[in-house]
């Protein structure tokens, strides 16, 4: 079966058709300035971007919900399933060897992606949600005592709130919210006052999915460490849009999701400091996470296997590897600069529409534009924009405390990726005007 149709397909297969660990050197593309980012060429790498929705060209502005997949990822998953499928870490046969090598190689890609000190500190999980639950149930449950405090910013996604509420209920620890300002920034003075020797864990989202705020994680981590707390970072929105460096951030745990960074669903990464991971009890038991098992007692495998019970999402991890290499090829300097341009232009244009209220106006912002439009409920706006082929998100964005903070029930949210264009912003703005006319 022919698989190498089109130049992007060729690139995909050239990257990984051999049974070798992919090259990890940065692509020269990464040093190309933003204005040289060839958006048209990039769009050709994403087959879905050329389809139509409701008879109109798709304008995909729901990237904070999930990114689209480039051919390199689609092809890597296809190849894994069609040509290299076997279980890993247990077979002596050829296919198992191939699958094992491909799977394990991604851990080094992931290490480099996060600039983690060692690849065995990277645990493959189902996604950010599972990564945070792992930390809460393993680290949190084994260390928290009654009266200990877990500080979370008010802008956390439910996935960085609920796991902590659950473990607080199990241990007697207390969850406290760090206030945010009207602009949607962490109130650092309030944060300093909340920190105390009782603070054991600080949970912070690197980039808010509901507001777009880029949080000062390094500074917040430094302050948390002064009182001896560990810092857990939800990196779901940051990983697709900026270079993540867990050593520069100084944090203790960092979780992110493959599907937001243009890889497959169902897989993500949790990085943890090895001293912490070593000391933590296993979270789930099963195959692959043991050293020896007997009814008189079981010993556990070393990292990372200790936290990867059962057969993992093999093809999806391999797809994640392709996504990481794809992002490396485009380069975060170029991605960041273009997305910033999109955000600035979209903010200017959307602000001009009468009745717009922006929700989230932090000084440091990623490509998330959340707003309300007077007289038009976000869900109706979502339906009206959809008629023009424009995909946005409407609702509470799994961040109900944010909605409460800003006194809204829901917002409309356009979120950008490096494949979006200025023309797409025009289509969005025309849709906003149309919605105003419908509801005039």
């Amino acid at each position: 079966m022919a698989v190498d149709s089109g130049e992007a397909g060729t690139r995909a297969s050239a990257e990984g058709s051999e049974l070798t660990v992919p090259a990890t050197s940065a692509s020269p593309l990464a040093r190309v300035p933003a204005q040289a980012l060839d958006v048209a060429a990039i769009r050709r790498d994403f087959p879905i971007l050329s389809r139509q929705v409701n008879g109109k060209p798709l304008v995909y502005l729901d990237n904070a919900a999930t990114g689209q997949r480039p051919l390199a990822v689609i092809e890597a998953v296809r190849r894994s399933m069609a040509e290299e499928n076997a279980n890993i870490h247990r077979g002596v046969h050829y296919l198992s060897e191939v699958a094992t090598l491909e799977y394990d190689a991604v851990r080094e890609d992931a290490r480099e992606f996060l600039n983690a000190p060692a690849s065995h500190e990277v645990i493959f999980v189902r996604g950010t949600t599972e990564g945070i639950n792992l930390v809460a149930q393993s680290y949190g449950r084994s260390t928290l005592r009654p009266g200990d405090e877990i500080l979370l910013t008010t802008m956390e996604h439910h996935s960085n709130i609920v796991p902590w509420q659950i473990v607080a209920g199990q241990t007697g620890a207390v969850v406290r919210a760090i206030p945010i300002t009207d602009a949607g920034e962490v109130d650092l003075d309030a944060y300093r006052k909340l920190l105390s020797p009782r603070t054991r864990i600080v949970g912070v989202v690197h980039i808010s999915n509901a507001l777009g705020t880029i949080n000062p994680v390094a500074e917040m981590t430094r302050l948390a460490h002064e009182v001896g707390a560990v810092v857990v970072v939800d990196g779901a929105q940051a990983a697709p849009h900026m270079a993540v460096d867990v050593q520069a951030l100084g944090c203790d745990f960092y979780a992110c999701s493959s599907h937001k960074m243009f890889g497959p669903t169902g897989v993500g990464m949790l990085w943890g400091r090895s001293t912490l991971l070593e000391s933590m009890p296993p979270w789930q038991g099963g195959g692959d996470m043991i050293h020896t098992v007997s009814f008189s007692g079981t010993t556990f495998a070393p990292l990372p296997a200790k936290f990867e019970a059962g057969t993992p999402a093999i093809a999806e991890v391999i797809g994640l590897g392709a996504a990481i290499r794809y992002l490396r090829g485009v380069g975060f300097d170029a991605i960041g600069a273009w997305e910033h341009e999109l955000l600035v232009r979209a903010t200017e244009a959307v602000r001009e529409v009468p009745g717009i209220r922006l929700v989230g106006t932090a000084r440091e912002k990623a490509g998330v534009l959340a707003f309300t439009l007077a007289g038009v409920h976000p869900h109706d706006l979502g339906t009206i924009l959809d008629a023009d082929g424009v995909a946005i998100r409407a609702g509470h964005h799994c961040a109900q405390p944010v909605m409460e903070r800003f006194g809204v029930h829901a917002t409309a949210r356009a979120s950008f990726a490096f494949y979006n264009t200025l023309e797409e912003i025009d289509v969005l703005v025309r849709g906003l005007h149309r919605a105003r006319e419908v509801f005039a």
Partner: protein
């Protein structure tokens, strides 16, 4: 798939959204029920004042999209004065209307002005917006204490 926005946002729906009818609370002994759509956060409360077997008055308050607000508003107008059984039956018929399961033109016609919401059946993710008020009405008529949820 070709869908016409005008079929969804008919003028009667826009009118009920802008100026919802019976948009107020009823004092006790009227019973009420709360409706919640956890997916989108829409919330509303429906009050019913039942005299014997007759639904003497129906009102609602809440926050939601145009479809949910218009549906609630039109519901109050449609149900007022009906018997409890007729109101319950109408709720079932309405559910069929918005899920595209009505059998024929005659059945559809029996729904009167509510037919304006038929366009919702082309938008599967919006069906819950339209049916929230009716689910909540049934709960209020049943005197249910538990909040009604679309999930």
């Amino acid at each position: 798939m070709s869908r016409d926005l005008d079929d969804l946002y008919q003028s009667v729906i826009l009118d009920h959204n802008k100026t919802p009818r019976n948009f107020r609370e009823l004092p006790p002994p009227a019973s009420h029920a709360d409706g919640h759509n956890p997916l989108c956060g829409d919330r509303l409360t429906v009050w019913v004042d039942v005299d014997g077997d007759t639904v003497k008055d129906v009102t609602f308050l809440g926050n939601g999209c145009a479809i949910s607000k218009a549906s609630a508003s039109m519901m109050t107008a449609a149900v007022k004065g009906k018997s409890r059984a007729d109101a319950m039956a109408l709720a079932d018929e309405f559910q069929k209307l918005v899920t595209g399961k009505l059998d024929g033109a005659a059945e559809r016609k029996a729904l009167g002005k509510l037919q304006a919401l038929a366009g919702v059946s082309d938008y599967p993710v919006r069906v819950k917006c339209a049916s929230l008020a009716w689910h909540t009405l049934k709960a209020a008529l049943a005197g249910a204490a538990e909040p009604m949820s679309t999930e």
